[in-house]
Symmetry: D2
Subunit: 290 residues, 4 copies
């Protein structure tokens, strides 16, 4: 066939399967979102509608891809976590990353009019880049999640103070920047409270903690469990029966995907929801399944 003469160029494609039994985090980021946020006049320091839009797009991703166990979003970035045992697309990196980036972009554009009915999009359109990072052990994944949430806290405290100085304090951007140079967290809390009457602790959790998305099963008593250990300790690979795998998949699809604004640095979050790290679905709570 005439085709075969050229088909050899397929040999240049390289295998990009990710090594097994490691956590895969796909993090996406808005491209040029500072400019984009200005174009559509997003509120400072946080635009609630823009965050709700990010969260709804991410919730669609979590719902459509049951191999994801948790997602965490802050500002214009979102991290999606595939369980370490995940075999989706034979763990091909490009396929995993582009599927998430593309689907997220589609939902972002699709949902935009719902959140910004008065601000129709025009080219150049918003878009996202993304990458995968592998974490070999559960402790690394936990620390990755903690890193993003600690970052959220640090940035939000800074931004809240910065924009208070400008919006209520009448400073210019440069003056505000200068005023904050070298300040510690305590200093910023103090500025917010003494100058603007703002108790940072009372700020909305979505701004202080970011957003975490997961499947909602019945909470487990934290004392009865040490998920951490269970996950990495198993001495041999568990080969599930097909029936068992099917059953679990159904349970996952049946579970409600929820968006919360909780502390994910402490153990409590994880110990109460052992299914996130173990990937064994829990019990569907009464009266809360979809």
């Amino acid at each position: 066939m005439a085709n075969s003469k050229y088909e050899y160029v397929k040999d240049f494609e390289r295998s990009d399967k990710l090594s097994p039994d490691q956590w895969i985090v796909v993090r996406i980021d808005g491209r040029g979102f500072t400019k984009f946020a200005n174009k559509y006049a997003f509120e400072k320091p946080n635009d609630r509608k823009a965050l709700d839009l990010m969260n709804e797009a991410a919730k669609f991703i979590m719902t459509e891809i049951p191999e994801l166990v948790i997602a965490y979003g802050v500002s214009d970035e979102y991290s999606f976590v595939f369980h370490e045992t995940c075999k989706l697309f034979e763990r091909r990196e490009s396929k995993l990353v582009t599927t998430i980036v593309s689907t997220f972009s589609s939902y972002y554009i699709y949902l935009w009019p719902k959140y910004f009915p008065d601000k129709p999009l025009s080219p150049p359109l918003p878009s996202f880049d993304g990458r995968a990072v592998l974490y070999p052990k559960t402790k690394h994944l936990r620390n990755y999640m903690s890193w993003r949430q600690a970052d959220c806290h640090i940035n939000n405290l800074y931004n809240t103070t910065f924009w208070s100085l400008i919006q209520q304090g009448g400073m210019t951007n440069q003056e505000a920047e200068k005023a904050l140079a070298g300040t510690l967290s305590a200093d910023k809390n103090e500025i917010l409270f003494s100058r603007f009457g703002i108790n940072y602790n009372n700020e909305p959790a979505i701004y202080k903690k970011g957003s975490v998305i997961f499947r909602d099963f019945e909470l487990v008593e934290p004392d009865t469990h040490n998920t951490f250990q269970e996950v990495d300790d198993v001495a041999e690979p568990l080969e599930q029966s097909k029936t068992q795998a099917e059953k679990e998949k159904k349970k996952r699809l049946k579970a409600r995907v929820v968006v919360e604004h909780l502390d994910i640095i402490q153990d409590e979050f994880w110990n109460k929801r052992p299914w996130i790290l173990s990937n064994k679905p829990g019990k569907i709570p009464k009266a809360s399944s979809t």
Copy 2:
């Protein structure tokens, strides 16, 4: 700072810079588009509006990313070619691939209502996966492009005959498949002509040749040029002056991006448009610049 304790997890990020001086092809494909085409009742064997939508989305990409020199689309796939000297994003693979996949997805959703005003999208939304392939030499790139266009021809001839047997010949899918098993191109041409009065040569070029997108400069006399050779032969890397690079970028942005349905297997296409492989912008044609 509290953050630093977790920040070490960044060390798990790997460098994914693509080796220099090789052509980078990013090919994207619609995910599950057979099902998607059924959901929105795309016409068989080709839905002109669906192709026009793909082409307009791709045209936006070419316009927004001047480092791309050519793109080729057929059915639900599109190949975007970065010039071998391209340094965009330091040639980081994830960044290059996800930027294209995301931007394309955004435009696809955004432009959908223009082409299908009566068929509003609903979840699950269309999405695309993508991957990068490196081609070390110009001959490989040319052969890659030829491969895709040869594929387009082979598939379109098959599909045109297949759907004629069904739509006009009253066959079932299985009967049509059986009727075509083992047939050569000549056989299919004959079936089309003798049974349905269709001269395949008269079919629209967009179906037979696919769509090629490039910047439109003044055509060059083919005899005066052998681009092929020029491109790979240069014995040392050319370091452009900054002014020169700026000048060329402006010329590129000024050029009209066009969608055509031409033969890209023969040399003629490339010899007449030496700027595609050389990345040296040509002359802006009179009365045709945007």
Copy 3:
């Protein structure tokens, strides 16, 4: 300088740093050793001198590279294990693999006359290939080691029976192969015992278990320890003080490197020697340090 014109070719070198906090196993294999063994008339099924030569070469490697925590050898292959926290050569894969392969080859040639004084080497010389494999968790490393030792057992039982059938039973190679086709371990044990009076359990441990090399510190009571857990459970990366690191390095260099033929599949071996997985040197045994 004249040089700079060509120096750009360095840009084609890719980074090959291995991801942190994973076990690095470098396994080397004799190239064409079946032919090589024939050329120098190695004894079948095991040539004790050839194995002793492999072991002494490997012991030199372990002694010269303190970042290695354990090595395991069988037949013409050897696996060297870098601790998961190892930062030698910035974890550059090529550097780690070639250093081991090269040093091993050097010692193999150098030590040859000691073991085979009557069989001087002649070209083509023996050589080894090698590769690195990453294991994310301690359980994987343990299973890797078990895999190699299980392989050793299976092959040695087969080979012992095969060569008994030939050397003592007078069979041809094909006859022996046929006689063993489809047999289980029990069958081979039975053949050895009933036909040749060989009790496989009494075969030398070096043939049945292979050779394991490690630093020799004072054994630890197994019950008091569960190394497995300790290693992966630490929630944050331990940054050692420089003094502490220096102190430990000295202890490692002071320890005797020993070659043993022990069971490394069971937990006992590892629990008694927690320093192998933890990389924290133990106590130097009295009267046994070098």
Copy 4:
């Protein structure tokens, strides 16, 4: 079988096949050779016997691996070039690199007593590290070779002057270093000539040009050929018949492998020996085959 339980650890092995149709350069370097050269009292600035030893080891490699088309050595480093079409070991990187590093190390130890009969080796033994670099086009390979030879020239001129200042001029190392700081080539030539009566041009070619190893066929008239172009220009991959490939392999094995000290920066070397870049064996010269 007991084995299967652990065998899953093989899944952690990654494919490391190098992309096709690119030149593969494997460069090896002596590990810690400054110290090693001192231990065995190598002559400064060049030890002829140490270079001859390197060259003979490299010649064995070239002879044993017909897929190599050329090698270039200087000081304690050697670059081995696999032809871009080479399919040895399915182009697996580890296999290609370790085979060369290991075989070279073996020959280095084996040949040592021939060149240094009075200086027996003792641990720690000399060893080499190595890495592969891919060059997509012939011009890159040519520039790589030029880079190494230009480096050889620059270093040798510096070292010759440096050691003259010490050995004949009675300077200390620091004084010599200071005397040469900021000098150009012309200055060093002048120092050599005016102070020590050395005409650098008359220095032995092996020191000034390094050593190049290739198969020796009948030289070709340079004008009749432009190898450069031929090599990259072929529009489609050439699939040789098996007979043809066998015939060429025989010719390669029949050819004498020679060590020369020629200029490989200029075109002349390559144009007279088109078989190096084309990998098409030339004519065996009369009376010179082995």
